[in-house]
């Protein structure tokens, strides 16, 4: 086996133009570091699922290249994909088979594992997602949450180095959502790289180390979550009639990016303490009418990037 690649997923200029002429994915350069929990974020219809389908070799890219676990795709798919667990656009199983039989079917399709351990691996995967009690029940009688869990169980049939999960908590109740998130963190802690496609910001904030933001087929941002947060770090904001003097005080206090706008002076707060700033302003004779520390939420950051809101169900 090769040395551990530094990027679990990488692409350059990955593009998909459908026969209709619609460009669903427009030249994106993904870089998912090994071991990361990568939040692949974007409004519905922004090209996330098309990208995932291309990454897994289900769709042929119109142009561009990509690799998984350091190996070029799709030429290495036979070698790479067994090490990749995927949940693409919701679970899909045979309705008249039980959960157990559905997993046995998928397991029988994997030529890198032996059939002799299949029953044990299937049982363990079902237990890990809390479906042990419903293993013999037909899939058609599963609730949405149970179906989602079965989809996750399928990704756990064998150890995976990379998990590509499209909306894994969709349809789960709050308890199920918590369980699945805990499971993902457990898998990540064990060394798997996780690509988590979602439109839920809370999920990204709780789970992810890295983020890629899709908007209309383009990757408009890609960074560590920490870096994205500081992109919109908290700012001190002084409302006053003596704007220039206020700006001078802020500069003198060592604050960066001092700007003046609409009767206000603002600057990056950095490590400065707000109460000390207020004292300095008053001490310098600035008539302070208002003082606020304004922090952009992650949501505001993403709305700014995409021009659209998140947390939209569906």
């Amino acid at each position: 086996m090769d040395a551990t690649p530094t990027l679990a997923v990488s692409s350059s200029g990955l593009t998909k133009r459908f026969a209709s002429g619609q460009v669903a994915v427009d030249g994106i350069d993904l870089a998912v570091p090994s071991g990361a929990v990568y939040g692949f974020l974007g409004p519905n219809g922004s090209g996330k699922t098309t990208t995932i389908r291309m990454l897994l070799g289900l769709l042929h890219p119109t142009s561009g290249e990509h690799s998984l676990l350091g190996r070029p795709m799709p030429s290495s798919s036979a070698e790479v994909l067994p090490r990749v667990g995927a949940l693409v656009e919701g679970p899909a199983f045979h309705p008249y088979l039980s959960g157990r039989d559905n997993l046995m079917r998928l397991d029988s399709a994997d030529r890198t594992v032996t059939g002799r351990t299949a029953s044990a691996r299937v049982a363990e995967a079902l237990d890990r997602v809390g479906l042990g009690h419903a293993a013999g029940k037909r899939y058609r009688h599963y609730s949405l949450g149970m179906r989602q869990r079965l989809g996750l169980a399928a990704t756990l049939l064998r150890p995976r180095e990379l998990l590509v999960l499209d909306e894994p908590t969709n349809g789960l109740d709050p308890q199920g959502t918590r369980e699945v998130r805990a499971l993902l963190l457990e898998l990540a802690a064990a060394g798997s790289t996780v690509v988590l496609s979602t439109h839920l910001l809370s999920e990204v904030e709780q789970l992810c180390t890295d983020v890629g933001v899709m908007h209309r087929g383009s990757l408009v941002a890609q960074d560590t979550l920490a870096a994205l947060r500081t992109r919109h770090a908290p700012r001190a904001q002084v409302t006053t009639t003596a704007i220039d003097e206020a700006a001078e005080v802020l500069r003198a206090a060592g604050l960066a990016d001092v700007t003046i706008q609409e009767g206000r002076a603002t600057a990056l707060l950095g490590s400065a303490e707000p109460e000390a700033l207020v004292a300095s302003l008053v001490g310098a004779g600035v008539p302070v009418r208002g003082f606020a520390v304004v922090a952009a939420t992650l949501e505001e950051t993403f709305v700014e990037l995409t021009g659209e809101g998140f947390d939209v169900a569906g």
Partner: protein, 275 residues
């Protein structure tokens, strides 16, 4: 190649067969296929054969094995094709429709390998369907009318064992004919995500072929029709047995399997899977 890889093709094929033969819908279909020979035997037992009956039907009261041949004759134009069309058209389109196709492909199953497994399963299903009709027909026929020597079309008689062998040969030939239909169905199945549409399209191909075959004005295209040689199985009831008359039928079936198998492969290995 590891042990797991060697057994992998067999495992997937077994899973495929379980999917086909474990499905309730297909059990109902099997019941319909099996009921025809029973119906024939009971009808002839209660009403007797009439002078207008064909050679095969006319022999039933003398030898129960002919119930199997009569049932195959009756089911060949529609019942057997509908069974094979339903299974073959469902092969890819059904999985695409459910979405299970994408999970098979990312497991990953090589697309060519998946197609080979699907085609093999279709062929096994066709053989099972034909043998079911023949088997139930022979069993019911022998139970009601008894066995004994078998009269051939040539007027000679064969021993029971030789007669049984002829029935097996007929079953083999018809299986090959239906596998050709299955190849067409498999190809159609790679074109759509709607298994019902694929089934209907495959049936339309079969019935259109039979209609065209019935128009003597179109005799020039008859040798190329899927169903043209299907009824040639009667040649296997002559004495002495010569397989030569079945040559064109066998060639035609193999050609259909090659052409539509290749077309299915060309389509499926390059298609975008967006279902």
């Amino acid at each position: 190649m590891s042990r797991a890889e060697r057994g992998a093709g067999v495992r997937l094929l077994r899973s495929e067969l379980r999917l086909i033969f474990g499905r309730r819908r297909n059990w109902v279909g099997a019941l319909v296929l099996a009921s025809v020979p029973i119906l024939i035997a009971v009808a002839i037992r209660t009403a007797g054969s009439s002078s207008g009956d064909s050679f095969v039907f006319g022999q039933i009261t003398d030898n129960g094995l002919f119930v199997a041949l009569a049932a195959l004759t009756v089911e060949l134009p529609f019942f057997l094709p509908i069974a094979v069309a339903a299974i073959s058209a469902d092969a890819v389109a059904g999985e695409a429709n459910l979405g299970t196709l994408r999970y098979l492909l990312v497991t990953p199953v090589d697309r060519t390998r998946l197609l080979v497994v699907k085609m093999t399963a279709i062929a096994i299903f066709a053989a099972v369907a034909v043998l079911l009709v023949a088997g139930v027909g022979a069993a019911v026929g022998l139970a009601i009318f008894g066995g004994g020597d078998v009269l051939t079309i040539s007027g000679t008689t064969l021993g029971f064992g030789a007669g049984l062998l002829r029935l097996l040969l007929v079953s083999g030939y018809l299986t090959l004919c239906l596998v050709a239909l299955g190849a067409v169905g498999l190809f159609v199945s790679t074109l759509t995500e709607q298994p019902i549409a694929a089934t209907i399209a495959t049936l339309v191909v079969t019935l259109a072929s039979q209609i065209l075959d019935a128009l003597s004005q179109l005799s020039v295209i008859h040798p190329y029709l899927l169903t043209h040689y299907w009824t040639d199985f009667g040649e296997l009831l002559r004495d002495p047995l010569t397989l030569a008359p079945l040559g064109p039928g066998v060639l035609c079936a193999l050609a259909y399997i090659a052409v539509f198998g290749t077309a299915a492969w060309a389509r499926f290995t390059t298609a975008d899977v967006s279902a």
